[in-house]
Amino acid sequence: MPAGEQIVGFGEAVVRGSEDLPAAREALRQALGEAGFLEACGIAGIFNGLVRNADFSGIPLDDAALHSSEDFRDKLGLNDFSGAKNSDLSRADASQAGEGLFPHKGQ
């Protein structure tokens, strides 16, 4: 993916508030340009809110994501996160993956 390494490095530096954030910021600017950098700042910022929103409210995983992530959640260690207890993982059925995140859309 173009600028993938810089994107990952930037996201990690923002979340951790680490000392390499200025360097990560500059590397991303070089890779994406100013408009891309600003867009990345928006995404990094809002996801620091979205993750807290999900965790304090205890929302379960949406069915589409539950089914489509069954084959990699455990491999990546995601099932060990505290929030995994909010979803009934035994319901996951990979054969139902692919209906999209918005099953109500169009109804």
Binding site: M1, P2, A3, G4, I7, V8, F10, G11, E12, V14, V15, R16, G17, L21, P22, R25, L32, G33, E34, A35, G36, L38, E39, A40, C41, G42, I43, A44, G45, I46, F47, N48, G49, L50, V51, R52, N53, A54, D55, F56, S57, G58, I59, P60, L61, D62, A65, L78, N79, F81, S82, G83, A84, K85, N86, L101, F102, H104, K105, Q107
Partner: protein, 231 residues
């Protein structure tokens, strides 16, 4: 640090070409936080923001060593202080037992409104850190005004810690705050502006920003994973 502009979130004064719609919604968010909401007064809402900001800034310290966090000095119940700090710094450790103890003490709608302030301040603070601009000073609380007590009458238990709108034409994260309409608007107006591009939409999955969708989702996924967010 931001410039000493008299206008909050004066990104252009600091040399950042942040889109007008993003700047505008950040300013509106600060105005809203300063005023009475549905379940907290203006001074209480600004104190929630202050506690959340301080706790998040100390997120890399172990919880038992955060002695320097500011006290609320009677502006908030101790339970609300704990809730604001935990959501700000340790949201990934929240479990049902903790959430239910907070909800029992505060009430479900007050818990939702408190959370909406914390997540909004966390997002705007992280945005400032990402830019290299730092944190916008918190707004001065507006003393006048009484919480209106608003809540969604038809909220339903979908298995989360709090009731919410059901059915809902989108992902669960989009309805997490729906019990308190004002709280939902406070945060999701920022989501719509910051995640989706200038004319995109979080819910429609349109995408026309300078990043490709895969680039945006790579960043979102990395941020989420490092925050240990299962959802």
């Amino acid at each position: 640090m931001p410039s000493s502009s008299s206008v909050p979130f004066d990104y252009s004064a600091d040399g950042f070409a942040v889109r007008d719609d993003v700047t505008s919604i950040h300013r509106v968010s600060w105005e809203k936080i300063a005023r009475a909401g549905s379940h907290w007064t203006g001074p209480q809402r600004v104190e929630i923001a202050r506690q959340a900001r301080a706790a998040r800034a100390a997120r890399n310290d172990p919880p038992w060593s955060r002695d320097a966090l500011p006290g609320a000095e009677g502006r908030l119940p101790e339970t609300a202080v704990e809730a604001a700090r935990t959501i700000g710094a340790d949201a990934h450790r929240i479990d049902r037992a903790w959430a239910e103890s907070m909800i029992e003490a505060l009430g479900d709608a007050a818990y939702v409104e408190l959370g909406s302030i914390v997540v909004t301040v966390s997002a705007l603070d992280a945005f400032g850190e990402a830019l290299g601009r730092g944190h916008e000073p918190l707004p001065d609380a507006i003393e006048d005004g009484t919480p209106d007590g608003a809540r969604l009458d038809a909220a339903t238990d979908i298995g989360a810690y709090i009731p919410m709108a059901d059915p809902f034409p989108g992902p669960n994260v989009g309805r997490a705050l729906s019990l308190v309409p004002e709280a939902n608007t406070l945060f999701f107006s920022n989501v719509m502006a910051m995640y989706g591009g200038p004319s995109g939409s979080f819910f429609d999955l349109k995408w026309d920003g300078p990043l490709s969708r895969p680039q945006a989702e790579l960043l979102a996924a990395r941020v989420s994973a490092l925050n240990e967010c299962f959802y």
